[in-house]
């Protein structure tokens, strides 16, 4: 399959938590040399979020290990000017800088875009923050799940006539990280054509708002402020989850046409439902959605979830089991998807972690396990900056490397 697409591209990655590390994991797996710059003084809290085999430790976080694949780790105490100088020397040999500190931190460290173009004129730098680098509320702190509230997403997520909700999957951290890959590569494409680098200012909230056009355009076109729909959709009915036999086992069903509804009614053993004027056409079903859902719920309760899924799939209906994370992992189609890869980690050993959610017919990603804290400090400083062992131990003694 030949060389990976980003071989020769180096990323000085000051990112932490979820979004930026997710973006650089894509690029690292495709050949970029991602150097994660971190510190034991202010470690990524994800390094302590969970453990390995019941024990927490700076190198034992299963969550960290599943996100920070395919990179090297170098520790620098950025509070020290000597560490800042080393960071700038690394940037001078890099193509891309990524970071998601609170606004102002990179300026404090002498690592702002203005500082970095002096050492690398065509550098591409991306900052990811909750609300962006400018504006009256630029100085906010937040994680994806708290920030989505500001962006409008919580308000439109929830059960009808109920409270706003946060979304699972630590939404929108990984969605934002996925988009970051596109923005970085667009900037890299431009640099390769013109020789010009640039600064990318990503506001998580703004990106989230671009992902909710139905609601935003509803307000902007009609002036109507939309409310949460639960699992419902205003172009399909039924469209929801229904309890099946057993405890807390649900099936998801989305009916996009009248024919599909007739097939559903047949499988549920109530073909007459599809001839009932209350449910005949989409407009009828939307108008009578409460009673429609009650009719379906009453039947679904008698079916085994997976059996009903199978029977509806036979009729070409959009359906699926409502999985918890453990069931997703156990699903044979997930197991055979190639998305889980077993990688070696210095302390945790061989563990299955997620790779990219896409497959390329002519690229074989080169995944490798997440680094231990500072695992590659000596290697990077020696190979990249030509430092001697004495220099490096002096930096350690002076707490520049921590």
């Amino acid at each position: 399959m030949g060389a990976l697409p980003f071989e020769g591209i180096r990323i000085a990655d000051f990112g932490w938590i979820f979004a930026v590390p997710h973006a650089t994991a894509w690029l690292g797996a495709l050949g970029a040399d991602v150097i994660r710059i971190e510190s034991t003084r202010a470690p990524d809290l994800v390094r302590f979020l969970t453990g390995t085999d019941g024990k927490i430790g700076i190198n034992r976080s299963g969550v960290f290990n599943s996100i920070n694949t395919s990179r090297r780790s170098l520790t620098l105490n950025l509070a020290k000017p000597a560490a800042q100088e080393i960071a700038r020397r690394i940037v001078a040999k890099s193509d891309i800088v990524t970071e998601n500190y609170t606004v102002g931190n990179m300026i404090k460290y002498g690592l702002s875009y203005a500082d970095l173009v002096k050492v690398k004129p065509d550098i591409i730098m991306m900052s990811g923050t909750p609300l962006g680098q400018s504006g009256p509320y630029a100085n906010t702190v937040g994680f994806g799940p708290t920030t989505q509230a500001f962006a409008g997403l919580c308000q439109i997520t929830g059960y009808p006539d109920s409270t706003p909700c946060g979304i699972g999957g630590t939404w929108p951290d990984f969605a934002v990280g996925t988009g970051m890959v596109f923005f970085l590569l667009a900037a890299l494409h431009h640099r390769d054509r013109t020789g010009e680098g640039q600064y990318l200012d990503l506001s998580m909230a703004e990106m989230v708002t671009t992902m909710m056009p139905e609601a935003m355009m509803e307000y902007l076109v009609s002036g109507h402020d939309p409310l949460p729909l639960g699992n419902r959709d205003d172009a399909m009915a039924p469209h929801g989850v229904f309890l099946t036999a057993g405890e807390d086992r649900w099936i998801a069903i989305a009916i996009a046409s009248d024919d599909e509804f007739a097939a559903l009614a047949e499988v549920l053993g109530v073909p007459s439902l599809a001839r009932d004027p209350m449910y005949l056409r989409l407009g009828n079903r939307l108008a009578n959605v409460d009673s429609l859902e009650r009719e379906i719920a009453a039947r679904a309760r008698n079916f085994d979830r997976d059996e009903l899924v199978g029977r509806l799939r036979e009729r070409n209906i959009a359906t699926g089991p409502v999985y918890n994370a453990a069931e997703v992992i156990a699903d044979p189609a997930f197991q055979s998807s190639g998305m889980l890869v077993t990688l070696n980690h210095g302390e945790a050993g061989a563990r299955a972690v997620p790779g990219m959610p896409v497959r390329f017919s002519a690229i074989a990603p080169d995944y490798f396990g997440a680094p231990m804290m500072g695992e590659h400090t000596d290697q990077v400083l020696t190979e990249l900056l030509g430092m001697s062992a004495e220099e490096i131990s002096r930096l350690r003694a002076n707490e520049v490397i921590v």
Binding site: S134, F143, T146, H189, L200, A318, A325, A326, S337
Partner: protein
């Protein structure tokens, strides 16, 4: 002679890249292809959007419509998703169309196809056919489950991907009190469609960089289901690092409220709030005016606090009941505690932070008149996101593309139009 500074628009990052977007022909609304293509178009690639004649792409039928008057040219979703694109019509079910499509693909870098494997096969536009015929072409398929998946012939979509990925199971995020009355929940809007679009756009860029080295295109297989499972990677990490009997593992299977709730009521609405870390706890204490209860022994360490979440929430709710969203937001953020107002879409559109950054953009659209919509998903200092042209009218660029670029004779084009092919 007077000298004028030449007025120049800023350059666009993806100028020179040519993209063809195919329509989703399923009955299930699936916006992934339109979103991926929008990402390319908004940063300067030439995107030709192919739509079925007469009915047009799915989003034209979904509204929202001004005064609830359906009009395929003025629906909000269409206006948003199709900015900066050229529009042509082709009936992919007709054989003669394939010749036109294939001629178009000769000069295309990326084709974005949101159709299911069986349909692609039937229409002879499956990735094997396309990559064999056009070795430099990058063929991006966006399917419900993946082109090679054992589930490849099953139908899915936003609801199914949400609930088969575990994301729906976790929603509302750690807030579920009553399992029977609060089923697993879909997020607002079609989040998994747009996520799949961004995933496809990112992966297509990776393939473009690969082509620079190898000289050849390839197939990029994007699965909506896996794109959503990718959001669950923390849980996948817990699964492989911890025993199923461990305390942390419980979050993979339990829907009951497990601790950190995220959204709380206050005087005039709701806020998100996180005082989970030691720093945030100390900050929250200052923001709330050092109430006595927070200094009690019960709340001394993160470990002890984890055991008394209910008491913490009661105290937090008590404080919030006396403050507005804005007060809570500003006081908490003043102490570097993550807290945000829950804004409605109308409030987002009128929000001063978004306004200061000129996030929402206006443009004149020939059919819809003045349109306002969300703008840049990311600020670029040198090659900014911008709207060069509004969403195309159905078949607006048929002549430009078919007659001018592909040199189809006028008479032939007319005949094809009469037969409903274009």
């Amino acid at each position: 002679m007077a000298r004028f500074e030449e007025y120049r628009e800023p350059p666009r990052a993806l100028e020179g890249i040519r993209v063809v977007e195919l329509p989703c022909l399923d009955t299930m609304p699936f916006m992934a292809g339109a979103m991926a293509a929008k990402s390319f178009a908004d940063f300067g690639a030439e995107v030709i959007k192919v739509e079925p004649p007469r009915i047009g792409a799915q989003e034209r039928r979904l509204g929202p419509f001004r005064d609830e008057m359906p009009d395929p040219e003025t629906g909000g979703l269409h206006l948003f998703l199709n900015t900066n694109k050229l529009g042509v019509t082709l009936n992919l079910e007709d054989r003669r169309t394939r010749d036109l499509l294939f001629r178009l693909l000769e000069s295309t870098d990326v084709v974005l196809n949101p159709n299911q494997p069986a349909l692609n096969q039937r229409l002879a536009i499956d990735w094997r056919t396309l990559t064999a015929r056009f070795p430099k072409l990058i063929v991006v398929s966006m399917t419900f489950f993946g082109d090679e998946s054992p589930y490849r012939d099953y139908r899915g979509g936003d609801l199914i991907a949400t609930h088969m990925s575990g994301v729906g199971w976790e929603t509302p995020y750690h807030q579920v009190l009553d399992l029977a009355k609060e089923p697993p929940l879909r997020s607002g809007g079609r989040q998994s469609d747009y996520l799949t679009g961004y995933t496809a756009a990112s992966a297509a860029m990776c393939a473009l960089f690969a082509r620079r080295r190898s000289g050849v295109g390839q197939h990029v297989d994007v699965s909506q289901w896996l794109a959503m499972v990718s959001m669950m990677r923390p849980m996948l990490g817990v699964h492989s690092h911890e025993a199923t009997t461990s305390a942390g593992y419980i979050r993979l299977t339990q829907r009951h409220k497990t601790g950190a709730q995220w959204v709380y009521p206050c005087l005039d609405g709701w806020v998100s709030f996180n005082a989970g870390t030691e720093r945030f706890w100390q900050g929250a204490k200052r923001a709330m005016g050092e109430p006595a209860w927070m200094n009690e022994e019960l709340f001394k360490t993160p470990q002890s606090r984890a055991l008394h979440i209910d008491a913490i929430e009661a105290g937090l709710l008590d404080w919030l009941s006396g403050v507005t969203r804005k007060e809570a937001f500003e006081r908490a953020q003043g102490q570097h505690v993550p807290c945000f107002p829950v804004n409605s879409p109308a409030e987002v559109a009128g929000n001063e932070q978004y306004a200061a950054r000129r996030f929402f953009v206006n443009h004149d659209h020939p059919a819809a008149r003045e349109v306002r919509m969300p703008g840049a998903p990311c600020g670029f200092s040198r090659t900014p996101w911008r709207i060069v042209r509004g969403a195309p009218r159905l078949g607006e660029h048929n002549r430009k593309i078919f007659a001018q670029r592909l040199a189809i004779a006028e008479a032939e084009l007319k005949a094809l139009a009469e037969e409903g092919v274009v």
